[in-house]
């Protein structure tokens, strides 16, 4: 075989090797990202009914539709801090707190279908 052909082959092999390595690396990264996403999704949906705990400040009680609006801190494993409305399982829960109360509450259900099942005031 002529020498220049050998050189060309070496270069081709080099380019292919580097290219394949780069592609393999990219694929690996993509697969890892996908794995992470499915693992995260599993962690939040699997196992049917779940329970979460949070703390917050009551902003309003909307008695006619059974919703309590709470500015809450992070709900571990479920939701970052925000202000939002939660369904309550009984009118008693709604009536037990007033706007401005600092509270500790329990959410139960199959995400994202959750409702407050218990609530306590943490400060007068």
């Amino acid at each position: 075989m002529r020498l220049w052909k050998a050189v060309l082959l070496v270069d081709l092999a080099l380019a292919l090797g580097v290219g394949a390595g780069y592609l393999w690396w990219g694929q690996q990264a993509r697969r890892l990202a996908a794995d992470l996403q499915t693992a995260r999704a599993l962690a939040t949906t699997a196992g049917g009914e779940r329970e979460y705990h949070g703390t917050g400040v009551v902003r309003a009680g909307l008695g006619d539709i059974g919703i309590l609006v709470i500015t809450h801190g992070e709900i571990a494993g479920y939701m970052p801090p925000m202000t939002m409305g939660f369904r309550t399982t009984s009118p008693k829960i709604l009536d037990s707190v007033k706007p401005g109360d600092a509270v500790r509450f329990t959410l139960r259900g199959t995400p994202p279908n959750l409702a407050i099942t218990a609530i306590d005031k943490t400060a007068p």
Binding site: R2, L3, W4, V7, L8, V10, D11, L14, T55, G56, V57, V58, R59, A60, V69, T71, H72, G73, E74, P81, M82, T83, K98, P99, G100, D101, A102
Partner: protein, 657 residues
């Protein structure tokens, strides 16, 4: 000691890599020749090449060992194989190192392959392969250099660095190889290779001219990215190293242009004219190569100093040129304008003198005189005093907590002379000569934050020095407070409605917490939402807060967040607001003290609203001394105006400048 070894290793590695590229490229460029002296030169280059690969690999090993000791934070790590392996396998620099080392080993293999000159294709392939592998190995340095750390624009910075390395490698590295060839051919015994040497010198000269252009352009681009300011060039180690490099580079260019002129003399009668010229050229090219070695020392030093844009510049001169002087003194504008035009006329004359044959010297001299005269007219109004800290960037960002601290410090240390609001009217002011100036409008615009930092630190008679009494952060707090005072003074120009396309006043950043949520900053809304900051006092503000609550869902769809701050800084603000009305926007329960200290400078009213656009600029201030009710449609119209703006102003700097 270790540092010196690291620097030496980098220099050796850089030099070896560059000379490998240049030697191999020149070999390939000159082409095959069967003359004995040319064959002798080729074998010299190949032998040197093998030695250079060894030097490159060994110095790379030392460099990576040194790097390991730096990364691990202990000198001993340089001798621990396990620590070195960690750096090689787990860092980006390590990956690049492994790739480059692999390429160099492959290059070494090609250095021992014999190439028959009779078969031109084989010869070209083998020698070209050397040049290719060497160039790729050298250019890969860019992937783990300062350029790779630039963000954004990483790809462009790396591309510029690749061009710079490859072009410089060929040009600089080719010089010693060419000097060797010229020296061999210039000996009495080397007459057989003289035509070959002339051919090689011609080809090199032609290619080198283009490459010098590429080196210059890519180098300027790199410098722009890494240094970006005169202060960085003169005031940091990186910048000064670049200046040294530029001086050496200019000397190389001078020598190179001189050498180019010698080339035609080579092709004279081989025995009588050609040989002395060849020997002279060989010496000059060797001198150019020696200069290049020095440039590489500087380059190696630059790779181990942080780029200027990350450093705090220390201004070395007592003066600086500031265009801002003209905004303060418009009557000087015409003088500067006239001066600059005179300079342009002088430059045109200088350019014209290059094209002229006759009268070149008088036109040149005249042009130079005119340029100098123009500078004498234009520059004096632009000259400002400068201090070592003039271009120092504040170490504390422009935000409410710093401004509040600055306000407290100001009251304690400064107000006696400078007055409660920095107007220069303190109780002790009358006794001072010169009187303290009004710090609000004029000064903060004309001087850099670094200037004021210098004065606070070192005093400015009759003002005493505070460098001993206040720590660095405290001095920056004071400067942030002064900036806020000046901004508050200027904010009187803002009305309750937005002026379209006119962002100019940066809203000081602040941090706050709402109940149990984590703390947030005004910055977090940048690029996402318009913010309406409401300072309220109950009960007068209550109707307005209800109005805003009713419009809140509509404001939400227009991407507006309302942040309400109680002026009594009450921790139970939410409870006090929540009786009756449905108010869901954030009510600040923690952090209101600093927000009030800062924003009350802008408006002391019991109820004040600040509309802040997506880029973080304060656009409208609405203040109500009594009943704060206002047609919500006015606010919606303002928001609409902001949403329709086409120009996106740059995000404001985090610091005073």
């Amino acid at each position: 000691m270790g540092e010196l070894a690291g620097l030496l290793a980098r220099w050796l590695h850089l030099g070896a890599s560059v000379f490998l590229v240049g030697g191999a490229s020149l070999l390939w460029l000159a082409g095959p020749s069967d003359r004995p002296t040319a064959r002798c030169w080729e074998s010299w280059i190949l032998t040197l090449g093998r030695a250079l690969v060894l030097v490159a690999l060994a110095s790379a090993l030392v460099a990576v060992a040194y790097q390991t000791s730096v990364l691990e934070g202990q000198a001993g790590a340089a001798f621990q194989p396990r620590a070195i392996a960690r750096v090689l396998l787990q860092t980006r620099g390590g990956t690049v190192w492994l790739l480059r080392a692999g390429l160099l080993v492959l290059l070494a293999a090609f250095l021992v392959v014999r190439a028959e000159i009779r078969d031109r294709a084989d010869w070209g392939a083998i020698r070209g392969q050397l040049a290719l592998l060497g160039t790729v190995a050298l250019a890969l340095v860019a992937a783990a250099s300062h350029a790779a750390a630039v963000e954004p624009g990483t790809a462009a910075a790396i591309a510029a660095d690749v061009v710079h390395l490859a072009a410089a490698g060929f040009w600089v590295g080719g010089l010693p190889a060419l000097a060797l060839l010229l020296w061999l051919a210039g000996r009495t015994a080397g007459a057989d290779a003289r035509p070959f040497a002339v051919l090689a010198a011609r080809r090199f000269s032609r290619v080198a001219l283009a490459l010098v252009g590429a080196v210059t352009v890519s180098g300027l681009w790199n410098a722009w990215i890494q240094i970006a300011s005169v202060a960085g060039l003169l005031g940091t180690r990186h910048g000064r190293l670049l200046l040294v490099k530029l001086v050496a580079f200019a000397a190389m260019l001078l020598l190179a242009s001189f050498n180019r002129r010698l080339i035609p003399a080579l092709s004279g009668d081989a025995a009588t004219v050609g040989r002395p010229a060849m020997r002279r050229l060989s010496r000059f090219v060797a001198a150019e190569a020696t200069l290049a070695l020095f440039v590489l020392v500087v380059v190696a030093a630059m790779t181990v100093t942080p780029p200027a844009r990350h450093e705090q510049p220390t201004w070395p001169l007592a003066h600086r040129l500031a265009l801002d002087n003209l905004t303060a003194a418009p009557d000087l504008q015409s003088q500067v304008l006239v001066g600059s035009q005179v300079v342009v006329i002088g430059l045109v004359a200088l350019l014209a003198s290059l094209a002229l044959r006759r009268l070149r010297v008088p036109v040149l001299a005249g042009g130079a005189v005119v340029v100098v005269a123009g500078l004498v007219i234009a520059l004096p109004p632009l000259v400002s005093d400068a201090y070592p800290t003039t271009y120092r960037r504040p170490s504390v960002p422009y935000q409410a907590s710093s401004i509040a601290e600055g306000q407290a410090l100001y009251g304690e240390h400064c107000a006696v002379c400078h007055g409660p609001r920095a107007a220069g009217d303190g109780p002790a002011a009358a006794t001072l000569q010169p009187r303290p100036p009004d710090l609000r409008a004029h000064h903060v615009a004309l001087h850099t934050a670094g200037d004021i930092f210098w004065w606070i630190t070192n005093g400015r008679p009759p003002m005493p020095a505070f460098g001993e009494r206040l720590d660095t952060d405290a001095r920056w707090h004071l400067i942030n407070y002064l900036r806020a005072l000046a901004a508050a003074d200027a904010s009187r120009l803002l009305g309750p409605t937005v002026e379209p396309e006119q962002p100019w006043l940066v809203a000081p950043d602040f941090t706050f917490t709402v109940g149990p949520e984590y703390s947030r900053s005004l910055r977090d809304y940048r690029g996402r939402k318009i913010v309406l900051l409401v300072l309220y006092t109950l009960p007068t503000s209550y109707p307005r807060l209800v109005e805003l609550a009713e419009a809140y869902s509509q404001l939400g769809t227009l991407e507006v967040e309302v942040i309400a701050v109680p002026t009594d800084a009450a921790a139970d603000a939410i409870r006090r607001l929540s009786q009756g009305a449905l108010i869901f926007y954030p009510v600040v329960t923690d952090g209101s003290r600093e927000i009030l200290d800062t924003y009350r400078l802008f408006s002391p009213a019991r109820h004040a609203e600040f509309l802040i656009d997506r880029q973080g600029y304060l656009r409208a201030v609405f203040a109500a001394p009594g009943d704060a009710r206002r047609d919500p449609n006015l606010l919606l119209a303002d928001v609409q105006r902001l949403n329709e703006e086409k120009v996106e102003p740059p995000l404001p700097a985090e610091h005073v400048h």
